[in-house]
Structure formats: structure tokens, C-alpha cells
């Protein structure tokens, strides 16, 4: 491999991105809060990597730590919450070791982020054009006029009709779809290499969601931008991403290629997620929910975190610490008793109500 010539991209800040190395690699990331008495881990030992131009999905229930992981990469953890250990490598450089100002210099031209709710993610008192222009002005050293021009151009590229006029609008004057497009324009204005998306379409209508997803995918393909895509809608991941990590209670419990994981989930939690969501193409299937609730992050207990809700849990699931194990190449599962029969087992579980019934 090393002998082969590979594509190289020299970024503005000198980071060398190569195709044989993941553009973004999260290693053993712990995020949490230090309390007087204890450390509360919100994200626990999360690792995953994203290749150049790849679209990577993170799914999981509310509170599973998806947003925290993303925010840690962007350096936007809420106050009180910090990275406890681990590293976040961008093009081989550990972001966590950079100074605040050099990290800031990366944000925008190298890494950008899009939030769930475009209305709250845009400054309500600033014209959207100015908000888009702010990044280019700072990072690309553009004049106010040029930055503004760039902003309008970006808006045009995201399919906003009449961009010059819309640039003068305030966020509340735009519809949800337009706002999210503004967010995309804003995030892509400095041509970042990695785009972090935190549920960018959850607040949108299906028709608009579809437009925005298509747009995102197209733009990223055009520029070779990698995407980290957080959502709780499996179908959206299935449609958008090539690889996926399934998060539960701050941990990644399963990861692999989307077309491997979803048809043949190995982890009971992944299975549960799939079975509880209505599937348009399987309307007559009974919905089976995962019983109970995710554990309190302050006290996850020992053993597999999912064991208390797991229909297949056995005694050994409840002791010790569970590590991710690679079952097949690029297919990792944190389960002592992984389901490998996939769908066959699923229907069995559904018919005898096993997933639901066995909790005590």
C-alpha cells in the first residue's frame, strides 16, 4: 500500500489528508463531568474513524451521547462537560492537544458543524448573509464585500431561490427548509473537509428532509467532504451513510457498514431499534419496543450496559466490562452473545414476544 501513490490534500492549516488514512479518527474517547464525589461519563470509550469523503452515521436513542461525541470533535462541549481521556485525530493530528486558538483556526475551514434545529442554531439578531460571511471573512481573509458575495454564492449552491434578497433576511423570516439550507451554506462556506451534522433534518418535514438529505449528499460528493451524521432515525442513516455506529448509553455497541448492520444486526439493541421503528415497507409487522429505560449515566453498573433491557441477557452479561469485539472485518459488536442469524432470529423473537417478555 505504501508504495502506491495516493491522493493527497494539503489543507490550509498544513494538515496532510491522505486517502489511506482516516480523515477523522476518534480513539477511546471519554466525555464526562467531574463532580466532587465522582466522574460521570456521558460518553464512554468511543472509537470510530471516518475516511476521506465517507459518510458515517451515528444512531442511538435520545441521551445516548451522540451529540456529545460530535460536540467534542467540534470543541463545543457545554460548560462543565469535558473530554476526560482519549484522542480525536484529524489528519493524524490530535485536536485535543492543540491550543484553543489553533483549534479555532481549524473550525470552519477544516471542520464544520450543522445543528438539529436551524432556528435556534442561527443568531436571531443577525442577517443570514452576514452569518454565512462571518467564517470566510475570518478564515479566508476576505473583505466584507467579497465575503458577502461568497455567502450569496453559497446560498445559491444550496438551492435557495433569490439568494441575494434572502441574504438580508433574518432567520425567523425563513422557512425551516431554507434555514437548514442556510446552515449548510454556512457550514460549507470555507470548504471544510469534515462536516459534523447533528440531526440536521429532525425538525423538517419529510419532503423537505428528503431535499436536504439529497443536497447534503450531493454537496459532499462534489467537494469530497466527509460527513459525520448523527440521527436517531435509522432509515435516514440507511439512506445517507455508508458506515454506521450504534450508540447506547454513551458507548458504541455495534459498528460496521450500513448494508451489513441493518439487515443483520448482531447486537440486541440494534435489533431492538430496528424492530421498534415502523417500517414503511413492512406495514403489517408488529412493533416491538425495547422495554425499560437507558441506565442512569451516573451509575451504569457493571457488565453490559444493555443487559437490564436485553431479552437475551445471560448471567455473564452482568459482570465485568464489555469490550467491542471484531466479528468480521470492519464489523464490531459489544455483545457476549451476538445474534448472528439476523432476521431469522428476529422473527422468532417477535413471535414469542421474547424481546419484550423476559425483562424482570
Amino acid at each position: 500500500m505504501a508504495t502506491q501513490p495516493h491522493t493527497q490534500t494539503a489543507t490550509d492549516t498544513g494538515t496532510i489528508l491522505t486517502a489511506d488514512r482516516p480523515v477523522l479518527e476518534v480513539r477511546n474517547l471519554d466525555i464526562g463531568m467531574r463532580r466532587k464525589s465522582a466522574v460521570v461519563k456521558l460518553v464512554d470509550d468511543v472509537s470510530f474513524s471516518v475516511d476521506l469523503g465517507e459518510r458515517y452515521g451515528l444512531v442511538g436513542e435520545s441521551g445516548s451521547g451522540k451529540s456529545m461525541t460530535l460536540r467534542a470533535i467540534a470543541g463545543l462541549l457545554p460548560s462543565g462537560v469535558e473530554v476526560l481521556s482519549g484522542s480525536i485525530l484529524y489528519g493524524g493530528r490530535d485536536l485535543l492537544e492543540l491550543s484553543a486558538s489553533s483549534r479555532r483556526a481549524l473550525m470552519g475551514p477544516e471542520i464544520a458543524m450543522i445543528f438539529q434545529e436551524p432556528l435556534t442554531a442561527l443568531n436571531p439578531t443577525m442577517q443570514v448573509g452576514d452569518q454565512i460571511a462571518e467564517g470566510p471573512r475570518q478564515h479566508l481573509g476576505l473583505s466584507a464585500k467579497d465575503a458577502r458575495k461568497l455567502a450569496v454564492e453559497m446560498m445559491r449552491r444550496t438551492g435557495i431561490p433569490d439568494p441575494a434578497r434572502r441574504a438580508k433576511a433574518f432567520p425567523h423570516e425563513l422557512s425551516g427548509g431554507l434555514r437548514q439550507r442556510i446552515m449548510i451554506a454556512l457550514a460549507l462556506s470555507c470548504s471544510p473537509k469534515v462536516l459534523l451534522c447533528d440531526e440536521p433534518t429532525t425538525a423538517l418535514d419529510v419532503t423537505v428532509q428528503d431535499q436536504v438529505l439529497t443536497l447534503l449528499a450531493d454537496l459532499c460528493d462534489d467537494t469530497g467532504t466527509s460527513l459525520v451524521f448523527v440521527t436517531h432515525d435509522l432509515a435516514v442513516v440507511a439512506q445517507t451513510c455508508s458506515r454506521v455506529g450504534v450508540m447506547y448509553s454513551g458507548r458504541i455497541v455495534e459498528k460496521g457498514a450500513v448494508n451489513e448492520v441493518f439487515p443483520k444486526p448482531h447486537h440486541p439493541y440494534t435489533l431492538g431499534l430496528i424492530e421498534s421503528a415502523p417500517d414503511f415497507d413492512r406495514p403489517d409487522r408488529e412493533l416491538v419496543s425495547i422495554p425499560g429505560f437507558p441506565p442512569n449515566v451516573a451509575n451504569r453498573g457493571s457488565g453490559c450496559v444493555f443487559a437490564p433491557r436485553c431479552a437475551f441477557a445471560q448471567d455473564d452479561c452482568r459482570v465485568g466490562r464489555l469490550e467491542l469485539a471484531e466479528l468480521e472485518p470492519d464489523r464490531t459488536v459489544a455483545c457476549l452473545h451476538p445474534r448472528n442469524a439476523g432476521e431469522a432470529l428476529l422473527s422468532a423473537a417477535a413471535t414469542n414476544g421474547a424481546i419484550a417478555g423476559r425483562s424482570e
Partner: protein
């Protein structure tokens, strides 16, 4: 045997206006800001024991319609009939009782300062559902009905998760023994796994208690697995009504087709039509002609001139051997394949 119509809305129109007169000059608190047509001639009937879905984009008027049905909002025009009897917005206590509602936001739908016992117990007392001595037993029965343990009775809503709250909201609605349950996006704020329990609960209750349910939602996957009939709403109008399988297999309105096309699918292999473009136009300045014209891939000149009415396009046989009407508001419904 024709199914019995429980609740019928006829030509409902709702306008949100600026308030006028004295209150405006002297600045009393007002309910709305700008004039817009939230509903424009909506007719829909709910049959006994059925579960009817109302879907549509955000802002299309679904909640407004629900509010009219439950009597929270007086329509500018049109009437609501309950078992054939006209009921206005100011309703008798028994009419109120018989149509209950479950809301989208589980966090604002329960009074944060009242225990479940108090909140539901009050309803039982006011409506004299059971003799006072049996109230406690009835409360236990109700929370059990929605799959909760009786210890929830003395807790405050703050102590519950979203799914539990939604169950409690359902329990409250059922406490007064309604005939009709209007559920306004009851699961869209919930996590998938919780969503499933609530959806299952609603469908069980509907079956077991013979409730008529108007289920408002925008997730077509949910609708498809829960409801028997579907009405599609666009910009204050019903644009298509049909049996659930019929509408998804054989949509007769371009908007419905676009909706279906936009659903994210687990299986990428499934072929999808191209998504429609643009956002819905503002309900303040409505276009002449068909409301969907600006986004319709099949738009014709007639669509820009003539407002299509909701009409019968076909009657399809249902599982029970009956024929179900398929209504659409598209000039070219028959031409859609």
C-alpha cells in the same frame, strides 16, 4: 352495512385574524398575530371505531382542525356534527367529555404541579364517572389500562419520562370515557422504542374500547402501521382521502405521491421517485387555482386557473368486502398511475 359516522366536519374554515376594536387600541393580550387561512373548507368524517389518520406538512392545518373538532376553536365557517347533531364551540359538559384529545408535547400536556391522582381524580368527580367512593379504584384501573403501575398516581409529571407522560395523557383522556380520541402527533416527540409502546397502546385501546381515533401525524410509516384510513392535508385543504393500503399503493394526488417518495427507507434498493422541490407557499397569500401548483411536477395550465375540488375518484374494495371511497383533489387524479 354502512359504517356509522360519529363525527363529521362540514366545510370548516378557520381564519387567524388580527384582533380588532377596543382590545386592539388598548392593548389587551391577543391570541394571534396575522391574518391567514389555516383551514379552508375542510370536510371529513370519522366513523365509529375507526382510526383515521390525518397527515400533512407542518403548518397545513392539522392541529387547527383538531382544535375545531374538540371545540377549542370556533370555526369561521362550517359545522361540526356529533352523531348527527350540530355542536358549536361552546359545548355542553357531556359533549366535551365525549371528544378527548392527546397532545404532541408530553412536557406541556400534564400540569407540572398536580399529581396524577388530583388531575385525573378531578375529572372523575366533575363528570361523576364513578361514585366518589370508587374514585381511587377507578384511578388504579385507568393507569393500569395504559400500562402503568398505581404508584404513579401520587407522583408529579416531572418524575416521568416522555413515554410515561404520554401514557398518562392518554389515561386522562380516557378517564372521562370518551367516544372519540383526537391524538395530535402523540408520538413525534418520543424515542423510537418508546414510540412503539405508545402506538401499540393506542391501537389496542382503539380496538378494545371501540374508540374512534383521529390520529394526526406526519410520519407515514407510523400511519401506515396504525390506521385504517388516511386523509392528506395540504395548506388548509384535504387533498386526498382513502383506505390506508389504497392510498399508499395507489395515490391519486401528486402531493401524496411526493410524500410517499420522500419517506426515508431502510432498504436503499427500493426505488423512489424524485423528491418535490420547494417549500409550501405561505397560507397568507394563497395562489389562484390548485394550492399545490408551485411544487407540482405535473402542473398544467388548468391547475393555475381552477381550484380543484375534493371528489370521488374511485371506490375500492376493502378487506371486509365493503367498498371504500377514494377521494382526491387533483384535476388529473385519474391520470396518475
Amino acid at each position: 352495512m354502512p359504517e356509522e359516522i360519529m363525527l363529521e366536519a362540514r366545510d370548516i374554515a378557520v381564519l387567524f385574524n388580527q384582533s380588532k376594536g377596543f382590545a386592539r387600541i388598548f392593548g389587551g393580550a391577543r391570541r394571534s398575530d396575522s391574518a391567514l387561512h389555516a383551514l379552508d373548507g375542510v370536510s371529513l368524517s370519522l366513523r365509529r371505531g375507526e382510526s383515521l389518520a390525518l397527515v400533512g406538512e407542518s403548518g397545513s392545518g392539522k392541529s387547527t382542525f383538531a382544535n375545531v373538532l374538540v371545540g377549542r376553536l370556533a370555526p369561521a365557517a362550517g359545522q361540526v356534527h356529533f352523531e348527527g347533531e350540530h355542536i358549536g364551540a361552546e359545548r355542553s359538559i357531556s359533549h366535551r367529555r365525549r371528544i378527548q384529545m392527546v397532545f404532541q408535547d408530553p412536557y406541556s400536556s400534564l400540569n407540572p404541579r398536580m399529581t396524577v391522582r388530583r388531575a385525573i381524580g378531578e375529572l372523575l368527580r366533575v363528570h361523576r364517572i364513578v361514585p366518589p367512593s370508587e374514585i381511587d379504584a377507578e384511578l388504579v384501573r385507568l393507569v393500569n389500562l395504559v400500562g402503568l403501575d398505581e404508584e404513579v398516581l401520587d407522583a408529579y409529571p416531572g418524575q416521568f419520562s416522555g413515554g410515561q407522560r404520554q401514557r398518562l395523557a392518554i389515561a386522562r383522556a380516557l378517564a372521562v370515557r370518551p367516544d372519540i380520541l383526537v391524538a395530535d402527533e402523540p408520538v413525534s416527540a418520543l424515542d423510537v422504542s418508546v414510540q412503539a409502546t405508545v402506538l401499540n397502546l393506542i391501537s389496542e385501546l382503539q380496538r378494545e374500547l371501540g374508540l374512534s381515533v383521529l390520529f394526526i401525524g406526519h410520519n407515514l410509516s407510523v400511519v401506515r402501521s396504525l390506521c385504517q384510513r388516511v386523509a392528506v392535508m395540504y395548506l388548509g385543504r384535504i387533498v386526498e382521502v382513502a383506505d390506508v393500503d389504497e392510498i399508499f399503493d395507489n395515490p391519486k394526488h401528486p402531493y401524496t405521491r411526493a410524500l410517499i417518495a420522500s419517506i426515508p427507507r431502510m432498504h436503499r434498493t427500493i426505488e423512489r421517485e424524485p423528491a418535490i422541490q420547494g417549500d409550501p407557499p405561505s397560507p397568507i397569500n394563497l395562489p389562484v387555482g390548485c394550492r399545490f401548483q408551485s411544487r407540482c411536477p405535473l402542473v398544467q395550465d388548468r391547475c393555475r386557473a381552477e381550484d380543484p375540488a375534493l371528489r370521488l375518484v374511485s371506490a375500492t374494495p376493502t378487506a371486509g368486502g365493503e367498498f371504500e371511497d377514494h377521494l382526491s383533489a387533483c384535476h388529473y387524479a385519474e391520470e396518475l398511475v
